[in-house]
Symmetry: C2
Subunit: 217 residues, 2 copies
Amino acid sequence: MSVITIERKVLEKNDVIANENRKTFKDRNLFVLNLVSSPGSGKTSLIERTIALSRNKFRIGVIEGDLQTNLDAERVSAYNVPVVQIVTHGACHLEADLVRDAFYRVDKNDFDLLIIENVGNLVCPAGYDLGENMKVVIVSTTEGDDKPLKYPAMFRNASALIINKVDLIPYLNCNLDVLKKNAISINPSLKLFETSCFTDVGLESWIEWLNSHIQNR
Amino acid sequence: MSVITIERKVLEKNDVIANENRKTFKDRNLFVLNLVSSPGSGKTSLIERTIALSRNKFRIGVIEGDLQTNLDAERVSAYNVPVVQIVTHGACHLEADLVRDAFYRVDKNDFDLLIIENVGNLVCPAGYDLGENMKVVIVSTTEGDDKPLKYPAMFRNASALIINKVDLIPYLNCNLDVLKKNAISINPSLKLFETSCFTDVGLESWIEWLNSHIQNR
């Protein structure tokens, strides 16, 4: 029995549970995002600003993934939304069964959008369906403009790309046009946003886009 | 047969080859670093600046790891040092057999320090010995001050931590003292450096430290 076979079995089992999750989310009329990025690209900050700026449009619930801590759930819970922390104890990505178990524990007080913040890792989460409607990948301008070429699976599997920390561009060696061109070369259908969770630039169009998906779910 | 058992066998096989690599490196009188970080923390930039600033002290060879491209090897080869690219075709970390095969292909023109740049991933490379003398982890100030707590295995297994992009601190929500305190709480024996590969601040002491290890190898 080869390792490849084992990996395929893990993925097949994951896909079965992911499809069950998708049905559960649909039955509850939820729009669900799987938010992925490198460590420190701004996933939690984006969630915080999205909650703060969308209060009169839609309601949000959050599932947080982390290797070891509940720091992110603490940050998000300050915004008075339902939030559950998954601690993976070192595992490098979320899987559908962890999300299913976390969803049981979320306070189901009527939210429209469920955001699942994956473990900070631009590689492994690309291969695991959690039952979401779409993956959204964040890349920070501080990471440079070559990341879509170097980590293509994540950009290929995402529906939207958020280019975050654009306020730092004057201090960086990051060419925004090259970054966008690289992303589109990997996935021509990527919806692009340019944001800063420091200055809130770009967040209005991100929230409008989210809102249109939530209204049409 | 469980997945855990398979993983253990993979790790055991890796450890055998890593120990063979270590013997090969020792026989050739090489000091070997395994350089690990998130995507975009500055591994390649650190290698570039280290080569440029250490020319009159020691000689460097480089093995580059990447999921898909040879962009980093192209950058490093401009400095006229021996360099070989490993493309993992999507795999999230380097393993000892890949390093062994790459080492056969490095031009053995007398270098003292071999730097292995791992895949950009703050999780998976932590568990894989490549036969190096030490792991060095880079964290960028742009990633925030909580990363040692959230990705502890990598900081626990490293001998040195390079806090990079310190020139950006005035524009960030990153508390350098908190970052250092968090790192030391995970691994009290970590040697700390604060650097910028933009301004070269901190690189002199990094190169002096490297030089002392190379002279005493």
